[in-house]
C-alpha cells in the first residue's frame, strides 16, 4: 500500500482530475502475455519459412534429422504453450523458441524469463528440449546463416521505424532526499522546563 500523499488527497477531494478506478485487475499479466503472443505471431517469421530454411540447404540424410528436430521442437512448444491451444499457437511458440535459442547453448535466466513472459509458467524440461533441438538445427546449418535468416525474416529484429523520441535527451535519475534542518538531539529527549510558579 502506498503511503499517504498530497496528490492522493487532491485526486480524491478536488474536481480537477478524472476519477480513476485503480482496483486491481485480476489476470492482467495473463491477458498481456496473450496479447504479446498475438503481436509476436504477426512479426513476419513463419513456421513454414523455418521448415523450408532448415531443409533447403541440406542433403537428404541431414534433412531427415532436421525434420525430426523440428517435430521435437513443436512438441516442446506444445508443452510450453499448453495443450488447449491450436496448431497456430503452437507453431508461433516454436518460432519464438527458435528465435530465443538460436544463439544460446543452454537455458539461462534471461531465456527462462523471456519464455515465462510470453507463455507464463512452463515445464523446464520442455525448455531444455527446445534449446537442444534448436542447437542441433543451428549446428547443421551454421550459426551465421541462421542469424542472417532471422535478421531478414523477423520484423522484430529489423524495425521499420524512425528514431526513438528522447533518445538523445540526458535524463537524470536524481531524486529528492531528506534535507533536514537539524538532527534529533542526541538524548532524543529534551528536558522540558517545569514551571513551579503555581
Amino acid at each position: 500500500m502506498s503511503p499517504p500523499r498530497l496528490t492522493g488527497a487532491l485526486r480524491s477531494f478536488s474536481t480537477v482530475s478524472k476519477k480513476e478506478d485503480f482496483t486491481e485487475q485480476l489476470n492482467d499479466l495473463k491477458t498481456k502475455r496473450l496479447k504479446r503472443r498475438e503481436l509476436f505471431a504477426r512479426e513476419g517469421l513463419t513456421w513454414q519459412k523455418i521448415v523450408h530454411f532448415c531443409s533447403e540447404h541440406q542433403d537428404k540424410a541431414k534433412q531427415q534429422a532436421a525434420s525430426q528436430e523440428l517435430k521435437s521442437l513443436l512438441l516442446a512448444a506444445k508443452q510450453i504453450v499448453g495443450t488447449e491451444h491450436g496448431q497456430e499457437a503452437i507453431e508461433s511458440a516454436a518460432i519464438f523458441l527458435f528465435e530465443t535459442f538460436h544463439n544460446k547453448d543452454h537455458v539461462g535466466t534471461e531465456e527462462t524469463r523471456a519464455i515465462k513472459q510470453m507463455f507464463g509458467p512452463f515445464p523446464s524440461s520442455a525448455a531444455e528440449a527446445s534449446c537442444s533441438c534448436v542447437a542441433q538445427l543451428v549446428a547443421s546449418l551454421g550459426e551465421s546463416r541462421v542469424e542472417d535468416f532471422i535478421q531478414t525474416q523477423s520484423s522484430r529484429h529489423n524495425p521499420q521505424r524512425g528514431s526513438t523520441f528522447g533518445r538523445n535527451i540526458a535524463f537524470s535519475y536524481d531524486c529528492y532526499t531528506l534535507d533536514p534542518l537539524e538532527d534529533l538531539p542526541c538524548s532524543g529527549i529534551h528536558e522540558e522546563k517545569v514551571s513551579l510558579d503555581f
Partner: protein
C-alpha cells in the same frame, strides 16, 4: 503516413481498413490506435519474496517494452495511441500514483535487478510525458497549439495532481525540462491556471487535516463550522497510535516536498497560491503544528529509536520545505517585481513588509525563516531599491525579529 507541413489535427490518411479496403480517416482517429494492452504499474515489493520480485520484473519489463515501442512510433501514431488508448493512460497514471518517491520510508529496491528495472520504467515514463507535453516535435510533426491545449485538457492527459507528481518524481535532476513541459502545458491551455486556483483550497485542507488529527485548534477549518461536542476526545500527537503519527509525518513530508518542488520548478504558479492566502495559512500551520509534533517525537516512547530519528529528520525536512516555500512565494510575488523595477514597486514593498510584520506573531516560524533567509538582507535590498521606505517601520520589524530569537531562547547564527 500523414502528410507533412500540415498540423496533425488537420491531416487525413488513407490506409487499408479492417477488411483490407482502403479508407480515408482523420490522422487522429481511434481506428488508428493499436491494441497493445498496457499493464498498470505496481511498486517494487518491499521484502521481496522471489515470486513477488519475479512478478514486478515481468510487469516492469512489459511497461518498459511498451513505452519504448510507443516512443518509437511516428508522431501521428503516437498521438492516436495517447489519446485513444485507455490502457496506456491507466499505466501512466498508476506509475504517478505508485512509483516510490525518494523520500518514502522504503525507497530502496530490494535487489539490483529490481533497481535496474525500476530505473528503466522511470526513464521511459518521463520521456512519454515529455513527448505528450510537446506540441511541436519538428517542422513536419506538430499539432495546432490551441488544439493541443484542448487534447491534453479534455482527455486529462495532464491535470494538476499529475503535474505535481511529475515534479516530485522527476524534478530533482530534470527541473529544466520539467519547467519547459509545464510552461508549455499552461501556455497552450490556460484552464490549468483555473484548475490550480481550485486546487489550492484543497492543498490548504491537507494542512487543516493534519492539525485536526493532532487535535489542534484549526482556525481555517473550524471557524466555519461548529465544534463537535466530542471534539475534546480527539487524540493528539502524543496520544494517537504510533502508526498514525508515522502516517501523519509522512503525509506532511510528502505534501511539503511536493508543493515546494512544484513552485520551485514552475514559479508562475506562485501567484495562484499567494492570492489564495497560502502564505498566512502556511505560517500559522507551522507555528501550531511543528512544536506539537516535535514534542511528540521527543517525548513519546519509541521502541525503535531508528524510527524516531527518521521521523525527526522527516519533520525537520518538512520544516525546511515550508520555510523555503514561504521564501519562494515572497520572492516571486513581491521581491522579484521590486528588483525588476516597475510601476507598482511601492505596493509590492508594502506587501512584503506587511507579510514580514505578520510573521512577528509566529515566532517559531519567524526564527526558522530568518535563519535560512535573513530578513535583514531583504530589508536592506528593499531600502536600496526604494529609499523612501519608512525607516521607523523597518527598524520596528528588525527589532521584532531580534526579540523573536530571544523569546524562543535560540541564538541567532552570526
Amino acid at each position: 503516413m500523414a502528410c507533412a507541413q500540415v498540423p496533425l489535427d488537420e491531416q487525413q490518411v488513407t490506409e487499408p481498413g479492417p477488411l483490407g479496403k482502403e479508407q480515408t480517416l482523420p490522422a487522429l482517429h481511434p481506428a488508428r490506435k493499436e491494441e497493445r494492452c498496457f499493464v498498470p504499474y505496481k511498486s517494487p515489493p518491499e521484502d521481496g519474496s522471489p515470486a513477488e520480485v519475479e512478478e514486478f520484473l515481468e510487469r516492469a519489463k512489459f511497461i518498459t517494452e511498451d513505452l519504448e515501442w510507443l516512443l518509437a512510433l511516428p508522431h501521428d501514431k503516437f498521438w492516436c495511441q495517447v489519446v485513444f488508448d485507455e490502457s496506456l493512460q491507466r499505466c501512466l497514471d498508476s506509475y504517478l500514483h505508485l512509483a516510490p518517491r525518494g523520500l518514502d520510508l522504503s525507497a530502496l529496491p530490494s535487489s539490483p535487478a529490481v533497481a535496474d528495472m525500476q530505473r528503466s520504467v522511470h526513464r521511459t515514463v518521463f520521456l512519454t510525458f515529455l513527448r505528450m507535453a510537446t506540441h511541436k516535435e519538428s517542422k513536419d510533426n506538430f499539432i495546432t497549439p490551441a488544439v493541443f491545449g484542448e487534447i491534453i485538457y479534455d482527455n486529462f492527459l495532464f491535470d494538476i495532481p499529475k503535474i505535481l507528481d511529475l515534479c516530485v518524481l522527476f524534478g530533482k535532476g530534470n527541473s529544466q525540462l520539467l519547467h519547459k513541459m509545464i510552461e508549455n502545458i499552461f501556455t497552450q491551455q490556460p484552464s490549468y491556471y483555473s484548475d490550480l486556483d481550485e486546487t489550492v483550497p484543497t492543498v490548504l485542507q491537507v494542512f487543516d487535516t493534519i492539525l485536526d488529527k493532532c487535535g489542534l485548534y484549526c482556525e481555517g477549518a473550524t471557524a466555519m463550522e461548529p465544534m463537535k461536542l466530542s471534539a475534546h476526545k480527539q487524540p493528539t500527537a502524543m496520544t494517537m497510535s504510533q502508526q498514525e503519527l508515522v502516517d501523519l509525518i509522512l503525509y506532511l513530508c510528502d505534501s511539503t516536498t511536493t508543493i515546494h518542488a512544484f513552485l520551485d520548478i514552475f514559479p508562475a504558479a506562485c501567484s495562484g497560491f499567494h492570492s489564495n492566502g497560502f502564505l498566512s495559512r502556511l505560517t500559522s500551520f507551522y507555528e501550531t503544528a511543528v512544536p506539537d509534533l516535535e514534542k511528540a517525537l521527543r517525548k513519546r516512547n519509541f521502541d525503535d529509536k531508528g524510527l524516531q530519528e527518521d521521523l525527526w529528520k522527516r519533520l525537520s525536512h518538512s520544516c525546511r520545505k515550508m520555510v523555503e516555500t514561504a521564501h519562494l512565494l515572497l520572492h516571486h510575488t513581491c521581491l522579484q517585481p521590486i528588483l525588476e523595477g516597475g510601476e507598482n514597486m511601492l505596493a509590492f514593498a508594502e506587501e512584503l513588509l506587511s507579510h514580514f510584520t505578520s510573521f512577528l506573531t509566529e515566532k517559531r516560524f519567524l526564527t526558522d525563516y530568518d535563519e535560512q533567509f535573513p530578513i535583514a538582507d531583504d530589508v536592506s535590498l528593499l531600502q536600496q531599491a526604494l529609499p523612501v521606505i519608512d525607516e521607523t517601520r523597518t527598524s520596528y520589524l528588525l527589532q521584532g525579529v531580534e526579540s523573536a530569537w530571544d523569546s524562543v531562547g535560540r541564538q541567532k547564527p552570526q
